[in-house]
């Protein structure tokens, strides 16, 4: 009986301030994410109007090749060129077929 009454007292103390904090906290989280959701929902419509005057380019300012990636591309091209050259050399040095 004492344990039960203690639990009730503890429960009421917790509910006294804990419940309002929990409810307000959850409401704030919901409000913030609801506003984000609404914003995300409207953003494509706003951007479609904006795109009429400033169309979005496929490449754009943001996609110039990084210098390191440019060097990597050049290395790949050099590698391919070397392989092609080696193959051509082999074909030139190989005896003609049928003789």
């Amino acid at each position: 009986m004492n344990a039960l009454s203690d639990l009730t007292l503890v429960g009421s103390a917790a509910q006294h301030q804990g419940l309002p904090i929990a409810l307000v906290g959850l409401s704030i989280v919901f409000l913030a994410l609801l506003l984000i959701s609404v914003f995300i929902g409207f953003l494509p419509r706003v951007l479609s109007v904006f795109a009429k005057y400033y169309p979005e380019s496929e490449g754009g300012h943001g996609s110039p090749v990084h210098p390191e990636r440019q060097i990597d591309d050049e290395l790949v091209i050099a590698g391919l060129g070397f392989v092609l050259h080696t193959e051509f050399q082999k074909q030139l040095q190989a005896p003609p077929k049928g003789r």
Binding site: A14, I21, I36, S37, F39, L43, P44, G60
Partner: protein, 388 residues
């Protein structure tokens, strides 16, 4: 002989307590689980090794423990600076909340918000799952924890390790070890905890719901989103400035396309370095005298309940939303509001495919998954602002 006996008295064997031995075994168990079962190895290995290191008994007067911080001693009119232990300097980043925001920077740099941008209503499932935070907060109060302690314990329900460490460092630093281990342990157990709850709360017909493929999201949307979302969330909950600021900063580095080098560093080297330091120092802080207390059992029990409640909250809210929607949401996706990214999204995919192998829910589940990260950071900001 006397010298030898004196030396033996200073060894760890002489000072070892039963609690230290148990914690060392727990540390070994964490490492074993990480290696053998592949349970969150990037976190459990540093935490486990830290627990082993932190529970070796130290010699009185030697600064070796993580709690041996630097100090200024004023004696006889002179001020003497006593340097702290190496572990205490590493722990500084945990104690003062430096590491979690840096981890959020890396998380932002690796997160793709496009699934969330393509289906905004799924964001609300991330909000619904945060009910686990606040119900656990109430449960902790009922168990007799103080308000700051209850707030730090409640955030376990956000299923976000850095957020849990950040908030417990602010509100209840003496519970940080237990809260961190509870949070990361249950995150590793998401594939075990969530599926039974998901099946219990949904019908077979609901689990078979197929959702429309997400639309393509433009680059402009992805670039504008981090700045706009930061402004919206932090003007409502300023307590979340640090975590959300770094999260959206990292995302902007990724999506702006002009700072690829910085984004790459943030999501690779930087986050790995911080994870090592954070995991190891959190593990070292779980010394027997601070960790092996009855409170820790309560924290572990509440942590398990928080994950279950958060999962149920997300699933039930998805079912509630379906009452008003013509294009139905598969309620399983609601479970991904538990922000254990990407594990809970994978669990949704797995449970959905058990009913229909051709139902691909993973990309849909990523939307509430990443929304849950934002939601748990907001919840932490609110709790910090109210309870500090």
């Amino acid at each position: 002989m006397d010298v030898l006996l004196e030396f033996l008295k200073t060894t760890g064997f002489a000072s070892m307590t039963f609690g230290n031995a148990i914690m060392i075994l727990i540390g070994i168990a964490f490492v074993a689980l990480a290696i053998i079962k592949d349970y969150e190895p990037l976190l459990l290995v540093p935490i486990g090794m830290g627990a082993i290191v932190g529970n070796i008994p130290v010699i009185e007067g030697m600064s070796l423990s993580v709690y041996d911080a630097h100090d200024w001693i004023i004696e006889n009119g002179t001020i003497t600076y006593v340097p702290g232990s190496v572990l205490s300097y590493i722990y500084f980043g945990v104690q003062y909340g430096l590491y979690p925001p840096l981890i959020f920077l890396g998380i932002g740099a690796m997160t793709d918000f496009s699934t969330m941008l393509s289906n905004p209503k799924l964001v609300l499932l991330g909000a619904a799952a945060q009910i686990g935070v606040f119900l656990t907060f109430l449960g902790a109060l009922l168990l007799g924890f103080t308000y700051p302690e209850a707030g730090a314990i409640g955030i376990i329900g956000g299923a976000d390790g850095p957020t849990a460490i950040f908030l417990s460092a602010k509100l209840a630093p003496h519970l940080l070890g237990a809260i961190a281990i509870a949070a990361y342990s249950y995150m590793a157990l998401v594939p075990v905890i969530q599926p039974p709850i998901m099946r219990l709360l949904t019908t077979r017909e609901e689990r078979l719901i197929r959702m429309k493929p997400p639309r393509k999201v433009s680059k402009r949307e992805k670039m504008i989103f981090p700045i706009a979302a930061f402004l919206i969330t932090t003007l409502i909950a300023p307590g979340a400035i640090v975590l959300l600021g770094m999260l959206f900063f990292g995302n902007l580095l990724k999506e702006s396309l002009v700072t690829e080098r910085l984004a790459n560093t943030a999501r690779t080297a930087m986050i790995d370095i911080v994870t090592i330091l954070l995991g190891f120092s959190v593990g070292a802080s779980t010394q027997a005298q601070t960790f092996l207390r009855p409170q820790s059992l309560g924290i572990f029990a509440l942590g398990a309940a928080s994950f279950a409640v958060a999962t149920a909250g997300g699933v039930l809210f998805a079912k509630f939303m379906n009452l008003f929607l013509t294009e139905k949401i598969n309620p399983l996706v609601g479970a991904a509001g538990v922000s254990a990214v990407p594990d809970s999204a994978r669990v949704v995919q797995m449970v959905g495919q058990q009913e229909d192998p051709h139902n691909f829910l993973l990309m849909h589940a990523m939307a509430p998954n990443v929304a849950g990260v934002i939601g748990s950071a907001i919840a932490a900001g609110v709790l910090w602002a109210v309870l500090v």
